[in-house]
Symmetry: C2
Subunit: 215 residues, 2 copies
């Protein structure tokens, strides 16, 4: 990766990072249908995103569209996949192997997006010692020790809300670099820890409210 | 609900709707610990949201804080729960009973947030006719017919990305009012249909990128 590329990567805004996977999903479909080229105007029509925005988002990538032809579909898929980090393996652990946690351990989709779940941790003696899709579930008390072996960088947090902060603290102490927080609790963490909040329940509030408006 | 309240509800901005469940998660913890009152300053410190923003967000609710005392915790929990729609039952179907879809069918958390999943639909003969946590899985071809019985308002979309639009179209035809889209595809739908996108894979791109920055 060139120095210029790193600088570009540094300033990548979150909205761009949210849109790039949409483009990827769409151009991957085209690629599967053996479509060879695609213009930002076409992507724009399909995804309802401004064409100039798409061109701007894609300018962060190491790929150029050709005038009146557009982007090479296959190269665009590869470039997006690499750029978004989906082709690299990122080791992760799940903390809280309940219904949602176990679900994520089973989700092959995550593997396709570069996430490699290596272990689960829980406090419940009924699940400790068992496994989900060959991924072992250990006692949370073993986390620090097991981390020496796994050295996972991402902790997926799917514990009950009242244990969120304590579980995050344990994860951070064991060397975790990022916390993917599925609880509705706002985790506090040192500035060098990446926190991503995916509170699926909060999305329900938005759905309910918008449905009421459209009645 | 008074007319004024309805007007307030109409203009509720999405960022507010995203923050209110955070407040709920926190004050519910306090309630469980039998804490009686909480100020917006306290919530602010705990959740790292500006106190004036919290007061503004909570002003949409039918609850008033008392000067120098703050909000009554128990009332705030109840009011937030009701206001966010978590206490009403919303019928939902899952389209695509694969790993993520089946996971959501098992997640008791969703029930606690007012989502009642009544049926799943799939194309795979291996899962059609089976059930997950007593929720039956039917052939997707039966969706329209089954909807006459269920009259679900929300479709949870967890199909492979290439089937997203087709599955959404079938759901909308059968009378679905809202689509909770877990695929990375941008669904097109008439203006009266609520679309909420929860592309968990897109969050991975953000995590990977931010981790690279902090290296």
């Amino acid at each position: 990766m060139s120095e210029t590329k790193n600088i570009q990567r540094d300033i990548l805004p979150e909205p761009t990072l949210r849109r790039l996977p949409w483009y990827l999903a769409y151009v991957r479909l085209l690629d599967n249908l053996h479509v060879e080229t695609v213009s930002s105007t076409q992507i724009s029509k399909e995804l309802n995103v401004d064409a100039s925005q798409i061109a701007k988002d894609l300018s962060f990538l190491n790929i150029k569209g050709k005038t009146r032809i557009g982007y090479d579909v296959h190269s665009l898929v590869k470039e997006l996949d690499n750029f978004l980090g989906f082709k690299k393996k990122h080791s992760a652990i799940v903390i809280g192997a309940g219904s949602l946690g176990a679900a994520l351990m089973q989700d092959v989709g995550l593997t396709q997006y570069g996430l490699n779940i290596v272990a689960g941790f829980d406090v419940d003696s009924k699940v400790i010692g068992s496994s989900v899709c060959n991924i072992p579930i250990y006692d949370i008390e073993e986390l620090a020790e097991r981390q020496k072996q796994y050295n996972a960088s991402i902790a997926i947090l799917t514990v009950p809300v009242e244990h969120s902060q304590a579980a995050a603290d344990i994860a951070i102490k064991s060397g975790i670099k990022a916390i993917w927080n599925f609880t509705p609790f706002r985790i506090k963490a040192p500035a060098n820890i990446v926190i991503a909040n995916t509170s699926i329940y909060a999305h329900l509030a938005i759905i309910y409210n918008r449905m009421d408006l459209k009645k």
